[in-house]
Structure formats: structure tokens, C-alpha cells
Symmetry: C2
DNA sequence: TAGATTGTTAATCGATTAACAATC
DNA sequence: TAGATTGTTAATCGATTAACAATC
């Protein structure tokens, strides 16, 4: 059951995949949990647990895991093979940068269109993606059966826009605004909050500088 | 000591702050842990614990916390009052979007310059920030005593660039590349990995869709 | 005063780590 | 065969939650 695999495990999976591609490029055919752990600053225990939970493929004692099979297994596990369509709402600076980000395809994500209220961008194409008026959002999402939305509107519009998204049938919102949005339990939200990230980094920095002081 | 406050607590602090500003705007003078918890989908227990650990300011039984004092206390706790200078390395699409992001000032972060190897952008200003050649990075960081770097280079340059940053005295790297970078313990790293985030969101979405199926 | 809410301690929960039998 | 490495179970660790005495 995917239900009892921790979200942390999912978080690490793309990192394993990236490392495996590097190993493959170097011509390696097998890899052990110790080697994967070293490359990513993890413990062999957590690597073994993650891989076994993902039911990716059995490793062989003494040999380790086959790199190719692991790549195939994790890609499948993460759903990188079947394309998931998404809409992007709010075509400001960040929205435009994300529209132009070519890496999403590798992760099975395809942004089919951007939506905005600004007549200046409506009707244009940005990085090849059509920009449509927000008014057409609900219809388009419903008609195409799209389940994922990327939210890049100004913070004070975030909740209102989230409400529209939920109404139109979106079931997963990747929230790049600083606003905390309220949605029903039937909708997943992932917050990409720069302020929170920076706060954590600053705390780590402060801790490091403090230790330095003390050791002097 | 800030050492035993969990990073999760730091992560939540900017969210409290944002909510408090909203409450202030509504004219509220006091707020209870229950109200803050409701606004952010947390428990009152964790709110009380966070606020007491941050030594922000004592609440009053029956009344709660004073909104203004809480705003001041958390801002101070997060270091939003004293400006921290940072450099940004890799002025591609994402780098440019971050250079243009006006919100950092609110968090006490000031990006003083961008660095790149592309002659096309070197010497120009992007969103008012000068773009300098990577060769000048080490000197500038050292001379200005800058401690924070934002890393937005292509993944295959990430480790090499991180090495340069460490050498020049940077002590905190905000890593927006998909690469896992190896740095000494004396340097903090915060990974902003889109692939990992998307994997988690996808897992949550799959879980939701599965539950839906089952309940039919 | 009565009762809402704080700050803190103890109980619970979940994830990571360590240990080890199985085995190629 | 001997030993490296797997997969899994038990122990540990850390964070969240629940409970409750203190108190405005």
C-alpha cells in the first residue's frame, strides 16, 4: 500500500534517481545501499528501507542493486512515465520562470496552459504555453480533467484562486505563494514557501556561527 | 539556546508572522493559540510550544498574546530587522526571477549581486542588481564578508560552484539546483528541490485518488 | 468568582538507526 | 567456502499531542 510509505521516502526517491543516472553515466552496473547513502549523505539503513518499501526491485546480497533496474523501478514508482497535465495560475515573474522550466517533462509533468487576469499577457504564448483568461480556468480544467495546479498568484489572491481551483475539480495544488490556503481534505497541497525555507537556512547559519564562536 | 529549537519551529515562524499581520490588519489586538492554530491548520499545543521556545513574549491567560508584540518578537527572532547580504550564482531563468523577487527584503535578505559566466549578461543589471563574472565571486564574497549564497547554476556545475563558494567563506547555501552538493559541516545547505517536492505532491494526490476509489 | 488560556510536563506517535539472520 | 550485502525486526530518537496546574 502506498498509504503507509512516508512522504519522506517519496522526497528522497528523485534524489536516488538522480544519483543512479550519474552512476550509470560512469558505467556502473550495480550499486549498494552504502554507496547510494554516501552520495546523498544518508544512512544505508534508510536507503534499504526506502528501496524495499517502494518495492522497486530486489537487491542481491554481496552485489547490491542493478542500476538500470533501479532507474526503471523508481521512475515507474514516481509515475515519471505517464504524463500528468497541470495548469499554472498567475503568470508573473515566478510563473513565467516555471512555465519556461524544461525539467518538468522529466518528472512526468506537463503544464498545458497559464492563466492570468492581465490583458497584457492573455492571448500570448510564454515559452510556448498559451496564456488564457482566468475566467476560462474552470471550464478548461473540468473539460480536460486536469488534477494538478501550480499556484503563483499574489498572496492576497491565493485563497480565492484556490477556491476556484477546488471547484473546478483540481485535486493537487502546488502552492508557491506565501499564503496558507484552506482546502478540503480531498485536495492535496504542497507549500513552496520561500520565507519558511529562508528561516530554516538562517537558523542553521546562526547555529554554525555560534559553534564557531564557542570553539574559539 | 537556539540550538535545541527544532528546524520545524523555524519553518513555522514566518507563517505565524504572516497570519499575525493579517489579524493586525483586521484590527485585532490579541490572539490565542487556538486562533493561530486554526488559521494555519496546526494544533494549539504546537503554537504554544513554538512561541514559548522562541521566547517571543509571554501570553496572558484568558487574553492570549498581544498581536503587535508577537509581530515584533518573531521578526526579531527571525532576524528580519538586520539585513543579511547574499550573492546569487547562476543568472538563468530561475536566477533572474529570484533577483527580481521583491519579497526578500521583508525577510532581511539583500541580494547584492549576481554572478554568471555568460558574457551576454555580465556587466548588465538585472532588476537593479549588477551581474559580475564568476571569476570575481571569490574576491567579492571575501571582501564584503558575505555569508549567504543562492545557487541557481545548472546541476552539473553545482558541486564545482559550491566548492568555490565554500572556499570564499560562504557559510550558508540556498541550493535551487537538483544536484546534491557536498560541503563541510561548517556550511549550512538548504535544498529547494522541485523534483522532490513534486514527488511528494504526486504521492499525496495518488493517495487521495485511491481513497476516493475505495469509498465508491 | 468562574472560566478561558497560558506554559510545561508526560504520553504518544512516527521516522530513523542499529542489529542480525538469510543468502548469493 | 567466506564474507559482503540484503531485507526486516527491534531499539532509539525526536517531534507532536494531550493533559493539567497556574493564573489573569
Amino acid at each position: 500500500m502506498s498509504g503507509d510509505i512516508s512522504l519522506q521516502t517519496f522526497h528522497r526517491m528523485p534524489q536516488y534517481l538522480k544519483t543512479l543516472y550519474e552512476f550509470k553515466k560512469e558505467g556502473r552496473e550495480n550499486v549498494s545501499s552504502v554507496q547510494l547513502a554516501e552520495a546523498l549523505d544518508l544512512t544505508p539503513s534508510i536507503v534499504k528501507k526506502d528501496l524495499s518499501q517502494a518495492k522497486v526491485q530486489d537487491g542481491k546480497p554481496k552485489v547490491g542493486y542493478a542500476v538500470d533496474d533501479l532507474i526503471a523501478g523508481i521512475s515507474e514508482f514516481l509515475g515519471y512515465n505517464d504524463l500528468k497535465e497541470a495548469v499554472l495560475v498567475g503568470v508573473g515573474k515566478l510563473g513565467q520562470a516555471l512555465l519556461g522550466y524544461t525539467g518538468f517533462g522529466d518528472y512526468g509533468l506537463d503544464i498545458v496552459a497559464g492563466f492570468d487576469i492581465d490583458d497584457g499577457v492573455i492571448g500570448t504564448k510564454i515559452h510556448g504555453k498559451p496564456i488564457l483568461p482566468t475566467g476560462k480556468l474552470e471550464g478548461a480544467v473540468e473539460k480536460l480533467g486536469i488534477k494538478i495546479a501550480i499556484l503563483t498568484v499574489p498572496a492576497d489572491h491565493a485563497q480565492a484562486m484556490a477556491d476556484v481551483l477546488v471547484r473546478s475539480g483540481i485535486r493537487a495544488i502546488w502552492n508557491f505563494t506565501t499564503a496558507h490556503i484552506q482546502v478540503p481534505d480531498s485536495v492535496a497541497v504542497r507549500n513552496e514557501n520561500m520565507a519558511s525555507s529562508l528561516a530554516v537556512l538562517s537558523a542553521q547559519l546562526a547555529e554554525i556561527m555560534k559553534k564557531e564562536q564557542e570553539s574559539k
